[in-house]
Symmetry: none
Subunit: 196 residues, 4 copies
DNA sequence: AATGAATGAGGATTCATTCAT
DNA sequence: AATGAATGAATCCTCATTCAT
């Protein structure tokens, strides 16, 4: 069961370079979108030859999907703080929003790529799009839970509506950030929503 | 179907075919984005040979920019109704939102393309992106005016903030619409904002 | 037999624009060679639309051939001075060489184009090449005559050899001029040959 | 004929195919010039796909420049004989000229391409032109040395002049050879120069 | 006499991908 | 695990040319 050091080293290298490729890919694909990013661009960015990518990934589609998956996990790890949920509702909203805002700032490549994929409508849907929509759903449910948790009196419909507005607001503010630069004022938005 | 490829149109008309190309381009580019749309795809969609496009437009960049410009004008014409502005604020909000919602539904290709361009960050910024951001600004100012008009008591800062949220909300709901389908509930959003 | 002013005007315009096209073409084709010069480049240079060229010339090949012909005639007119042929041989050589040198400086586009055509070896020989070789022959014979005239004692073979060297020297110095710039020192070359 | 297009060479060898491409390119480019030669023409001539050329060379410009460099080296190797320099000046001239003449006959593609490049004047000078002018300078200096060596009494200016005439004569005779065919009578030219 | 609009072939170059090593 | 060399389809764009007006 224990393998020789050499073998382990090689295996480790495989994982390592997969990591490296994924990191370089989020960055480029997050800037240029699916079609705008060439496999050759990765190799220019992160070292290994273009052909090497096919050792780790089936094809471009697979690579992009993996990028989305990987980035989402990274993002989740950032968001899910251990001890949450104390204080008045408004304090908790503020804390949550602050966390989210920070996380959005940290992974804009991921979101940018995801949104671009989401907006596209090509005949053969890239797997990356499907994956993004799934993880987006997961995130949406977390938000819904948080809202239900914060305002225990709300009916199911109201929670759904508020969630919709919150997600839409977050997306819209992200777009704004991409256009105008500057920090996303998610906290204020959440407070605004909380008042309503 | 009416003419074999080799048959030349009897009465060539520059303006007309420019129009035809623009219409075909919004649709395709609105589905696949800048890079995802090939010049050849236009010709397949709207008839004339790929090379003919270069009679009307300098290059792909110029074509996409023209598409944005043209679509925005079309959209403006839809939005700007002659006699608006009567009734209680809430009634007027509702009317305005309804108009906007309808218009967004009518020209999703334009907005989709614009948002994709806005999200992209390529080294040589496409002119279409610049144009989109400009017309977006124009639209933003109209919304600010409408808000200031609806709520005369609001300070400048509040108007700005409310405008930001409104635009962001509209963008976000548009994204949602692109993902989940279904109608954009802009009216409800505006009412929601109006209450706050 | 006399035509109305309008018709004459039109006819005159035809000749005029033919002239204009030829002038613009020597310049461009003399800089870029046969393949390097596009019909579109002419229109950019001399005004009329690219398609207009086909009113005056059958096709590109015909145009280039016409350019060679026209330029050669212009050049001949420059070279053939009315009263030549007086003074000692050396004086006459000097005069002739000076004339040639000046004329070469005045029509380098023509010679450049011609030499480029002469050097090329394409499967379908451009008619312009044929024309250039013909006019070149004509010029060569004139030089042979001049040499025979200058040195009456020379045998036929010697005249031929000297002509060959003179033409070769002129070509070579022209190439040198194109590379290094500066005036062609044809006069000195001729004196040098004369001494030998 | 030995392999169907889809069959991949078993043992790909970069250096070898680079060589093959260069050889094919001198030939074609030496016949048609820079613009007249299409990348597709190379692939038709030397086997590999047009796109494969971009593995060995950055672009067409780079390829042509490499061709010039490579051909010059080949030519130099032909010219530089080990033991020269014995006998009377005239004998040595004859020997040298004979060598040169033979070498010129052996690599006419190289010179033809180079001269065509030298004559062209395009806005963006091809790198191949620069390279050719450089190697031409090198060759010119060798000739100057040879002349200074052959006629020790000559002043610097006279050597320069004689070199100029010799180079010009060689170029001109090369042009003549391209036009009329037949052997280059360089030897006779050199003798002619030597007498003067 | 000239042009506006079009065409289809072909230009250089880049693409995702493959496969032997 | 990775790469060097190749491929063929596709990219944008320019070419010479045509023809109705």
């Amino acid at each position: 069961m224990t393998s020789s050091p050499t073998v382990r080293k090689k295996r480790a290298n495989g994982v390592e370079s997969r990591q490296r490729i994924l990191d370089a890919t989020v960055e480029i694909a997050g800037e240029r979108g699916y079609e705008g990013t060439s496999i050759a661009a990765f190799s220019a960015k992160c070292g290994p030859q273009a052909s090497s990518i096919y050792w780790c990934f089936k094809d471009k589609d697979d690579l992009i999907a993996a990028v989305i998956e990987h980035s989402f996990e990274t993002w989740l790890a950032t968001v899910e703080l251990p001890g949450e949920a104390t204080g008045t509702p408004l304090e908790r909203i503020t804390a949550m929003a602050a966390t989210n805002a920070r996380s959005l700032v940290d992974v804009p490549d991921f979101l940018r790529l995801g949104l671009m994929l989401a907006l596209e409508r090509r005949p053969a849907e890239p797997r990356g799009r499907t994956v993004f929509l799934q993880v987006r759903n997961v995130a949406g449910q977390k938000i819904a839970e948080a809202i239900a948790d914060l305002f225990p009196g709300l009916g199911e419909d109201s929670v759904r509506t508020l969630t919709t507005y919150t997600v839409a607001g977050a997306d819209g503010l992200f777009v704004r950030r991409e256009i105008h630069g500057g920090a996303v004022t998610l906290v204020a938005l959440f407070k605004f929503h909380a008042r309503a």
